[in-house]
């Protein structure tokens, strides 16, 4: 009698790998952007765009390579993550290409060059990065070894833009470094590396943080020495905010840390403390830094602020941009104007990076924006599900940290452009133009796929038990 039967309580039943589901979904994820591309071409020039074949093949090729690698090296991975990322990346390319066609943007910037080809190149590099992650990272637990190295690396990356000569100040935010003609946003990579550090650190310290605390006014207050790291992170995020003028990144890091701390310790007190500290930091910086101040003014009432702000000031520019973005969304209405038929290029500067979501809002309307938000929501949901399914605490923390950071980034960027919260200069993952962003996010998806593969991999078959025969149900 075979060991594996339906009657044994412990069975190594072959779990479905869902690779074919992934393949089918990927077909949609490639076809939809190709049709969108056709749509833009027909709307703007009235003819089938010349690059459609090359573009479709390119995206299809990237998707197939990624799929084959997943099929071979992570066969039990979550089947949704790769198609979702491909779809968003593909739609991002279409939107960037659409803005490339805008005569207004071409007119406005004398040294204009289209961004879609470079974004295609970045996407290729990003998928290579994704493949690299899956090939090199056979088991995510390996990352635990690099806890402290990660910390140092993350800090270095975060502080690089402050190094004179290396950092580039682009309209008030010092979040870029330029190396050999390329500008990189180190914050995007720091996000992942910090998640690795937090997971490693918290996995070790979680008991100390959770249990060694005193009760005070209904809250568990941690011991002073355990408070050290959280204070350090708070200070670092404040430093970023003050010196790099980057509200988004500091919010992202701090939020990610609080989430992971809460998951690791299961103590609500950490959340309360985190909220208090971030509020304190935001208030202090918000009332001192002019850059942040003008964004808060633009958030509260952009149309009013446009009237009161002095002409040509930073504040007037911020408010003007905010009004343009809001009008973009408003003009989209429920169904949008149709791809290629809106006027979101009136936003001008950064229309295809920080504000690309406004183009979605105007040209695809409320319906389109909701679809995009739900696509992001699905990625987050699959990430959290991976965290729930992961069997080791490090994997749980890492998956939660990465998907939490992803959720926060989506919220901060989309909330910023929609005027829900003050604007911060971050990029919409996969959608916005920018190499660092797309590469880092593909790497993030790679790690999540690796963790989900480990989590969903069926438990190895139990060793044959010599007593098995004895306990079999006797059947006729």
């Amino acid at each position: 009698m075979s060991v594996v039967t339906n009657t044994t309580t412990i069975g190594a039943i072959e779990a479905p790998s869902r690779r074919n589901t992934e393949l089918a979904l990927l077909a949609f994820a490639v076809a939809i952007p190709v049709f969108a591309y056709l749509n833009v071409g027909l709307a703007i020039d009235g003819e089938v765009p010349a690059g459609m074949l090359g573009y479709g093949l390119g995206l299809g090729l990237l998707a197939s390579v990624a799929h084959l690698v997943v099929r071979k090296f992570a066969p039990y991975a979550d089947p949704l993550l790769l198609p979702l990322a491909t779809l968003l990346n593909g739609m991002g390319l279409v939107l960037i290409w659409r803005l490339d066609q805008s005569p207004r943007i071409i007119n406005r910037y004398k040294t204009f060059s289209p961004d879609a080809p470079s974004q295609m190149l970045y996407s290729a590099i990003a998928v290579a990065m994704f493949v690299g992650v899956l090939l090199l990272l056979k088991d995510h637990r390996v990352l635990q070894r690099y806890t402290y190295i990660s910390m140092v690396a993350a800090l270095v990356l975060l502080l690089l833009p402050l190094v004179p000569g290396l950092g580039a100040d682009v309209l008030g935010a010092k979040i870029w470094i330029s190396v050999a003609g390329f500008s990189i946003q180190p914050g995007e990579f720091a996000k992942i590396i910090l998640a690795v550090f937090f997971s490693g650190y918290l996995m070790v310290k979680r008991d100390a943080l959770a249990l060694a605390s005193r009760r005070f006014m209904g809250l568990y207050l941690p011991r002073g020495r355990d408070l050290g790291p959280i204070l350090t992170i708070w200070a670092v995020s404040l430093l970023i905010l003050v010196f790099e003028n980057d509200l988004g990144t500091s919010l992202l890091f701090f939020g990610m840390f609080v989430i992971m701390l809460y998951v690791a310790t299961e103590r609500t007190s950490w959340v309360v403390m985190g909220l208090l500290m971030s509020t304190a930091g935001a208030v202090v910086v918000g009332s001192t830094a002019t850059h942040v101040k003008s964004r808060v003014a633009a958030w509260l009432d952009p149309f009013e602020c446009l009237k009161t702000a002095p002409e040509g000031s930073n504040m007037a520019a911020a408010c003007d941009q905010m009004t343009q973005v809001l009008m973009s969304f408003g003009s989209g209405g429920i169904l949008g104007t149709g791809l290629g038929q809106g006027n979101s290029d009136l936003i001008g500067f950064a229309a295809n990076s920080d504000f690309i979501f406004a183009t979605v809002g105007e040209e695809l309307g409320l319906a389109g924006v909701m679809v995009f938000l739900l696509l992001y929501g699905l990625i987050i949901e699959r990430g959290v599900r991976t965290a729930l399914a992961a069997r080791d605490p490090f994997g749980k923390l890492l998956a939660m940290g990465l998907s939490g950071a992803f959720a926060l980034q989506v919220f901060v960027v989309a909330g910023g452009v929609m005027g829900l919260i003050p604007l911060t200069g971050m990029t919409m993952p996969f959608l916005a133009y920018g190499g660092s962003s797309v590469i880092a996010n593909w790497a993030l998806i790679g790690i999540l796929i690796r963790i989900s593969d480990t989590a969903r991999r069926p438990a190895p078959a139990p060793a044959p038990s010599p007593d098995a025969e004895m306990t079999q149900v006797v059947r006729p």
Partner: protein, 488 residues
């Protein structure tokens, strides 16, 4: 660790939910407000994105569109004889929005009107470029030309109406402006706009519809109508028992007459020589409320929509007896637009039936289908047919034997009736008076045209020579002649 994980998952869900709610708020609740925001250039961009429809007079467009290849506003508006037609078309400027017909019929002209939906859908399938529809006006090119050239360098306005239908035939205002000069948004357009804004002669003001003037003696026909309608006069040739001089009620100021022979003059005679005393006394006898009633039937105290909105002419509702007596000769608070006086004349010429004045004949889709045709519509009956014909007799007397001789056309089978007016205004009448003339032509088939002319300030004319008969009547004559000629 799974319990806090689930909670964080809920938190992430709430973040996405917050975004979804915010998006609905922005794109559903606030969409209209943001879309119509004055800062939103999309409305203007859309207005000039396609070839704009035209405004048509006598079958020929008086507007046009040129492709400027501009990345923001592709087509630019041009105007044929801009200054002459500006009071009719209004302007459509990329930088300064639009007004009058260009604004009111914007939906048709841009092709965005819902009534053009099928047309748009059809051209979407045939692959044709989207085009705007046309606005066909009731105006007559010849009449407009006569009016505009008649006014010449004077400040003033002319309105001509076809009394039978209410169709506006001419609508001129001087000094005028060329709407082409600021149709774009370049520095040159801005300069032209600012120069027009700062011009103390107010060329952008549509005097025919939007300026109210003291009517002076031309208002006497309204008083005559009120007296006849309310039974104060039954025989227009009977003496009126008017003293000379006549003392205004509640005042010790005697009313002077420029004309002689006003003592006990009959209504017919009083209108012929324009006696102030007779009409002031008549207005007092009719009484304020009855005067208001007749004036309002003629259209006073209300804005008119042609569809371009006019200012409301005024016959004061709260003045005392003395004020009413003065108002009855077109002084005191009485004020009227040239359109209003043309309506009064048209009602008299049309035997007492006042037709709603209008200037848009029909709206046409790009494929020439008629979307909407305006039919003549009766507005009110300010006076009976019999009384209207009595006033016609008197007005024809004015032209044949009185102050309106300059309007006589000497055409067979055409009777001309008119009334002059010289409106004093300003503190102690110190400013140069306004010269008014209202008139109509009448043939056996009824009246084809009624005109109101005002010449505000006549540079180069001696003060003594300013009179309705001298300055305004020849313009009215030219306009009537142009209309009659184009009919024959």
């Amino acid at each position: 660790m799974n319990k806090p994980l689930r909670r964080v998952a809920i938190f992430c869900g709430l973040l996405v939910l917050a975004l979804l709610i915010r998006d609905n708020w922005l794109q559903y609740v606030r969409a209209d407000e943001l879309n119509a925001h004055p800062k939103n250039r999309r409305v203007t961009i859309e207005r000039y994105a396609n070839v704009r429809g035209n405004i048509i007079v006598d079958g020929k467009p008086i507007t046009g569109s040129v492709d400027s290849k501009d990345p923001y506003y592709r087509f630019k508006r041009t105007y044929v004889d801009g200054p002459m037609w500006a009071p009719v078309t209004g302007y459509a400027s990329q930088a300064y929005d639009a007004n009058q017909i260009e604004k009111i019929e914007d939906g048709i002209l841009t092709g965005n009107d819902d009534r053009l939906f099928f047309d748009r859908t059809l051209s979407m399938f045939t692959g044709e470029e989207k085009k705007g529809g046309d606005v066909v006006t009731t105006l007559s090119g010849a009449a407009q030309k006569a009016a505009f050239e008649g006014l010449g360098s004077n400040t003033g306005a002319v309105v001509a109406i076809e009394p039978k239908t209410g169709k506006i035939l001419a609508l001129a205002s001087t000094p005028s402006y060329d709407p082409s000069s600021f149709a774009g948004y370049s520095a040159k357009d801005e300069k032209a706009w600012i120069a027009l804004e700062n011009d103390k002669n107010k060329p952008k003001l549509n005097r025919a519809l939007r300026e109210i003037y003291p009517p002076g003696s031309v208002f006497k026909v309204v008083t005559a109508a009120a007296a006849l309608e309310h039974g104060k006069i039954t025989d227009i040739d009977a003496p009126t028992d008017t003293p000379e001089p006549y003392n205004i009620p509640l005042s010790r100021v005697p009313m002077k007459n420029h004309a002689s022979g006003c003592k006990n003059a009959s209504l017919n005679e009083a209108l012929r020589v324009s006696c102030n005393s007779v009409f002031a006394k008549l207005g007092d006898e009719v009484g304020r409320d009855a005067m208001i009633e007749t004036a309002e039937k003629f259209g006073f105290n209300a804005e008119q929509f042609t569809p371009v909105r006019s200012a409301a002419s005024v016959y004061d509702k709260k003045m005392d007896r003395g004020g009413n007596a003065l108002s009855s000769i077109g002084q005191f608070n009485t004020a009227t637009t040239p359109l209003q006086m043309a309506m009064v004349t048209a009602a008299i010429a049309n035997d007492g039936k006042l037709m709603q004045p209008y200037m848009v004949e029909e709206l046409r889709a790009p494929n020439l289908d008629v979307i909407k045709r305006n039919e003549p519509e009766e507005m009110s009956r300010p006076l009976s047919q019999q009384n209207a014909q009595l006033i016609q007799t008197m007005m024809e007397n004015v032209v044949e034997n009185g102050t309106g001789g300059n309007a006589d056309l000497d055409m067979d089978g055409v009777k001309i009736g008119g009334k002059t007016g010289t409106a004093q205004h300003g503190e102690k009448n110190a400013k140069r008076p306004y010269a008014w003339f209202i008139s109509y032509a009448k043939t056996a088939e009824g009246s084809p045209v009624a005109v109101a002319v005002i010449v505000e300030d006549s540079a180069g004319t001696d003060r003594e020579d300013i009179s309705g008969g001298g300055l305004a009547a020849p313009i009215a004559k030219a306009v009537m002649k142009a209309v009659l000629k184009s009919r024959s």
